[in-house]
């Protein structure tokens, strides 16, 4: 089967999530949501919370419950993005330039300054792979990649997924290291378009394509589950058509 770039990413992110009890996905994240739903199809009993979904949301205690739930250690994986992300895993969701008179202003830190600390596997997902987004040092730290010893920090970055490659976060060094290049992407291109220095294995693997079984899941039950929250994505990317529903 031919694989769309989004399908490659969904499969990759599902691998990064792995087998966990509970993965939560924030708003405006169709690929992470699809990856989480794929994970749930592969791993029996895995729970997926998709914010703003009516069918895939288990929360009944208002907006705080996601954060409380994470603070209780009941969320194993979550996704963050960033206007800027640097090689030390610092995330900037606030502004570029001087904070008081920014050159560019983003939406704000959302829950990053908490969830990045308490969720064990935070996967950074930022498709745009440029020196504008992946920088040597973020202008504002919404949430830091690492914390000094003694700081309460059960959580933190696990990986960074872009349109070009996958970085794994290396805890001992506190830096991202290249883990795989997406098919057709060269190491030079990644070096060229990345604003931070990163370690590279001697032989850089190619990001694995999803298996046929995974593709079938994505285009079938996963697309159907996803369509509730992301109907356009499910239809246009995964080819989901509601009338085919049989279940």
């Amino acid at each position: 089967m031919s694989v769309r770039p989004e399908e490659l990413l969904i499969g990759t992110v599902a691998e990064l999530i792995g087998r966990v009890r509970h993965v939560a996905v924030g708003a405006l994240s169709p690929i992470p949501a699809a990856a989480a739903l794929l994970g749930a199809r592969r791993h029996d009993g895995m729970r997926v919370s998709i914010l703003n979904s009516r069918r895939h949301s288990f929360f009944t205690d208002g907006g705080r419950e996601l954060f409380d739930c994470a603070g209780q250690g009941r969320i194993d994986a979550f996704f963050l993005s960033g206007g800027q992300i640097d090689g030390a895993g610092n995330v900037n969701l606030v502004a570029i330039g001087d904070y008081d008179r920014p050159k560019a202003r983003f939406s704000g830190s959302f829950g990053s300054a908490y969830l990045y600390y308490v969720v064990p596997k935070v996967i950074l997902f930022r498709l745009e792979h440029t020196r504008r987004t992946l920088v040597d040092r973020v202008d504002f730290i919404s949430a830091p990649g690492t914390s000094p010893p003694g700081t309460y920090r059960p959580g933190g970055p696990h990986a960074l997924v872009t349109e070009l490659c996958v970085f794994q976060f290396d805890k001992p060094s506190g830096r991202f290291a290249l883990a795989s290049l997406h098919p057709g992407v060269s190491l030079d291109e990644v070096r060229d378009r990345t604003g931070f220095a990163f370690a590279t294995p001697d032989v850089v693997p190619t990001t694995a394509l999803p298996t046929d079984a995974d593709l079938a899941l994505m285009r079938g039950p996963v697309a159907r589950d996803l369509a509730e929250t992301y109907p356009a994505f499910a239809a246009e990317v995964l080819g989901w058509r509601a009338e085919e529903t049989v279940r």
């Binding site: 009944t60 208002g62 904070y99 050159k103 704000g108 830190s109 829950g111 730290i141 914390s147 700081t151």
Partner: protein
């Protein structure tokens, strides 16, 4: 005092005075957009917004209309319609004071107020630049730890008014909010609460055990106005966001002049 019964929207909105600290909910929890337009129409000034914990069109419009002096929020965004243009323009121009927060800090500050406590303790935050731009937040060494365990303290947030839209209220002033418990916390934390509702419920919401579970008691509610579709163009319940309108807003509000055309048109409705 006894609840005086539902009132007209403009009359209810007197509760919100110039300079008031106003708590508003996120797009998924019932945004009182009709009330927002009425407030702008009235010419309110100097509002200090507390977004619980974030906002979208509502904060962007209030800012664009020049009604806002300060905003505390974890984010302002139009979501799939892009960045919030009037918010980002005002922050870049420095015409609105921003108190950058993170979602759980706003919840924690409101919960402290709800409990009459001076502050809430919160994990996370250590090493975030938010602590630099929020000198009103403190870090102490956890007194229960072995030492060298920094923990952030968030002071209580006590809004003057909580403003939101809910499915229904009864004649006693009880408001059914369902599982949108942030609305309950907002009302508990605020000195007073103004609610617009889709409709009146014929009966006592507290008398039915099933409905009572999702009911904010009248004790906390100062004014209620019946405003069907009061969140338009933002989604509510099974009603979806007016995508055409939102796309149009994002386009018009990209410039100051375009926003003013939008505003003039909407206020004249």
């Amino acid at each position: 005092m006894a609840f005086p019964g539902p009132t007209e929207l403009d009359s209810a909105l007197r509760l919100i005075e110039d300079g008031a600290l106003v708590a508003i909910p996120p797009d998924y929890a019932g945004v009182a957009m009709a009330a927002t337009r009425a407030l702008i129409r009235r010419g309110v000034r100097g509002l200090r917004l507390v977004c619980v914990p974030q906002s979208g069109l509502q904060a962007d419009m209030l800012i664009g209309a020049g009604t806002v002096a300060e905003i505390e929020t974890a984010a302002v965004t139009l979501g799939e319609y892009g960045l919030a243009p009037r918010f980002t323009a005002a922050i870049r121009a420095g015409t609105v004071r921003i108190r950058d927060a993170t979602c759980p800090a706003i919840h924690a500050g409101l919960q402290a107020s709800e409990k009459g406590a001076p502050f809430s303790a919160m994990r996370g935050l250590i090493g975030s630049d938010l602590l630099k731009v929020r000198p009103d937040w403190r870090v102490i060494d956890n007194p229960f730890g072995p030492g060298d365990d920094p923990v952030a303290l968030i002071p209580a947030i006590r809004p003057d008014v909580a403003l939101f839209h809910a499915p229904m209220a009864d004649a006693h002033g009880n408001v059914w909010v369902g599982k949108r418990r942030e609305l309950v916390t907002m009302a508990h934390a605020a000195a007073d609460t103004l609610v617009t509702v889709e409709r009146l419920y014929d009966g006592d919401l507290l008398a039915d055990e099933t409905l009572a579970a999702g009911t904010l008691p009248a004790l906390y509610v100062g004014h209620i106005a019946v405003v069907p579709e009061g969140t338009w163009p933002i989604r509510f319940g099974t009603r979806t966001t007016d995508a055409t309108h939102m796309a149009e807003y994002a386009e018009m509000a990209a410039t100051e002049a375009g926003f003013q055309r939008y505003l003039a048109r909407e206020l004249a409705r």
